[in-house]
């Protein structure tokens, strides 16, 4: 046995923890090695001194148990982190959310303030641009291609675009609509011709001539409907004679019940009668117009003119005065005042 190996076994040898074989080998080495033997004696001496030393431990406090138990009872209830984990997680999430909200609010407001003029300028710029690019100058013979230029769909409803600026809406409204089909064109043509024929009842034939109405307008209308293949309309009975119509309409106009109710028709009727020299009808239409729209100064002025033509001076004065009261526009206002002065002299 070597010295290093033997010195490691001094303590277990003194404790009696070695086997008989190891104890015998240690003793053999100590017998032949004075250095190891001297160190073994030193350790044995110190070990004996330590084991026999009078080093009593401190006496425990007599109330150490009470003190410990008192501290145990004073201890706050031990936290169960597993149970408290959801609460802590919720608190952390709430704080994180609050921080995110605060950050968003604090940084978005100045950004919006900075971007507001830019957005406004972009909108204005966009409103100035047309919805469709401008057409390039078409080459010769390309008219047919122009006719097939893109147009807005017929079902496009401008009311469904509330967010668009007014200028864009105006541009959209001014764009060419979809090309109408042939039946639609025919129907529009029929409507125009029917309106013209209706007006011819008052214009083409002077009153009291007794001439037979040529029935041109109904014939045109029937021809137009026939062109569209609308045979039922083409088989309409012939229009009444002008004489009969004139008499009936004159009688009804006297009662004021057969006059048209729309503003445009009454105005057209007044102009037509004025051109045709039909003073009574002109006055009747003007009277009807003022009864329907009593707050229109121009209508009262027209009634005054019509009343003068049929020598209804008092009605003319009242009509002019009413027109002046309703702030008739120039130059009719001066004319009305002049007529009032003239009628006053008379």
């Amino acid at each position: 046995m070597k010295c290093r190996r033997c010195r490691k076994l001094f303590i277990p040898c003194l404790e009696g923890a070695l086997s008989e074989e190891l104890s015998r080998r240690v003793e053999e080495h100590l017998s032949i090695c004075p250095a190891c033997a001297g160190e073994f004696e030193d350790i044995k001496e110190v070990s004996a001194a330590l084991a026999g030393a009078d080093c009593p431990a401190m006496d425990p406090l007599p109330d150490i148990r009470d003190r410990v138990m008192a501290r145990i009872y004073q201890q706050p209830k031990m936290r169960n982190w597993r149970k408290a984990l959801p609460a802590y997680s919720a608190a952390a999430a709430a704080m994180l959310l609050f921080a995110v909200i605060l950050t968003t609010v604090n940084f978005r407001e100045p950004q919006q303030l900075c971007q507001a003029p830019q957005k406004r300028a972009a909108l204005e710029k966009a409103s100035e641009q047309p919805l469709y690019p401008a057409k390039k100058p078409a080459p010769a013979g390309a008219k047919q291609a122009d006719a097939e230029a893109p147009s807005l769909p017929a079902e496009l409803n401008l009311k469904s675009l509330p967010a668009l600026p007014k200028s864009i809406k105006g541009a959209v409204a001014s764009l060419p609509a979809q090309k109408p089909s042939e039946p639609e064109l025919a129907s529009a043509k029929i409507a125009e011709q029917a309106e013209a024929a209706r007006l011819q009842q008052y214009t083409q034939v002077p009153p009291g001539t007794g001439q037979q109405m040529p029935a041109a307008a109904p014939a045109i209308a029937r021809d137009a409907y026939a062109e569209c293949g609308n045979s039922s309309i083409a088989k309409e009975p012939a229009a009444p004679s002008f004489r009969g119509a004139s008499k009936a309409s004159a009688a009804k106009m006297k009662r004021g019940s057969d006059l048209p109710a729309s503003r445009a028709e009454l105005l057209n009727l007044i102009n037509t009668c004025r051109d045709a020299g039909r003073k009574e009808d002109e006055y009747a239409a003007a009277e009807r117009l003022t009864s329907l729209f009593p707050d229109e100064a121009a209508y009262w002025f027209a009634r005054g003119q019509a009343a003068e033509k049929i020598d209804k001076k008092q009605d003319a004065v009242d009509s002019y005065r009413r027109a002046v009261e309703l702030k008739l526009l120039q130059p009719d206002l001066d004319a009305a005042k002049a007529r009032l002065i003239e009628l006053g002299r008379q």
């Binding site: 490691k8 110190v46 431990a57 406090l61 003190r67």
Partner: protein, 192 residues
């Protein structure tokens, strides 16, 4: 409390009294922990007083050791004796306290050197003269060697028990005792 740790406690443990008390404490019978304090207070006082001279510090530290044991009693697996487990807590707590006190040492102008704030040495003067010399010599040992000496020679623990308490091998305990004895031999001969 950890019920799984309680279930791992074997019924046929030699120190079944401690295990039964631990089992009842785990079920909520806290006052029974006082019995464990009464049973092990002397050994715990010996361990702590072997390392620390101040009576007040020893009293406070012993209380801290038992409080720590009560808090950690749910982690007692029953693989070893309760006394061994409690001694390990005492050793670790004492060594940690000594390290903390070393960090709080101050410069003293009276003796011209560093010293520990260990308080009074009255208890050491009350011991026998030889015992006082030995204790002073042991006090000069490194902490780990000192703890092994206290546990082995003052508290009477065997080397395997010390190894289990400290969590080291028996050879380590033998080695620490060997070197401690060599140092003490020199210190005692020179008058420490």
């Amino acid at each position: 409390m950890n019920k799984t740790a309680l279930n791992t406690v074997k019924e046929s443990e030699p120190c079944s009294d401690d295990l039964q008390i631990v089992r009842q404490v785990l079920t909520g019978d806290t006052p029974l922990f006082g019995h464990l304090v009464d049973r092990h207070k002397k050994r715990v006082y010996g361990i702590v007083s072997g390392m620390i001279d101040s009576q007040d510090e020893v009293d406070d530290l012993v209380q801290d050791i038992f409080i720590a044991a009560f808090k950690a009693i749910g982690r007692f697996r029953g693989d070893s004796k309760f006394s061994t487990w409690l001694h390990a807590i005492a050793v670790n707590t004492t060594l940690r306290h000594i390290q903390k006190m070393k960090r709080r040492r101050v410069f003293s102008l009276d003796n011209g050197g560093y010293q520990f704030l260990t308080g009074r040495d009255a208890w050491a003067h009350e011991s026998a003269e030889r015992g006082r010399e030995i204790r002073i010599a042991v006090k000069s040992l490194p902490d780990k060697q000192r703890m092994v000496v206290v546990l082995h020679y003052f508290e009477g623990l065997s080397c395997p028990e010390i190894a289990e308490t400290l969590g080291c091998s028996v050879g380590t305990v033998w080695s620490r005792l060997h070197y401690a004895c060599k140092v003490l031999k020199v210190r005692l001969e020179s008058g420490a």
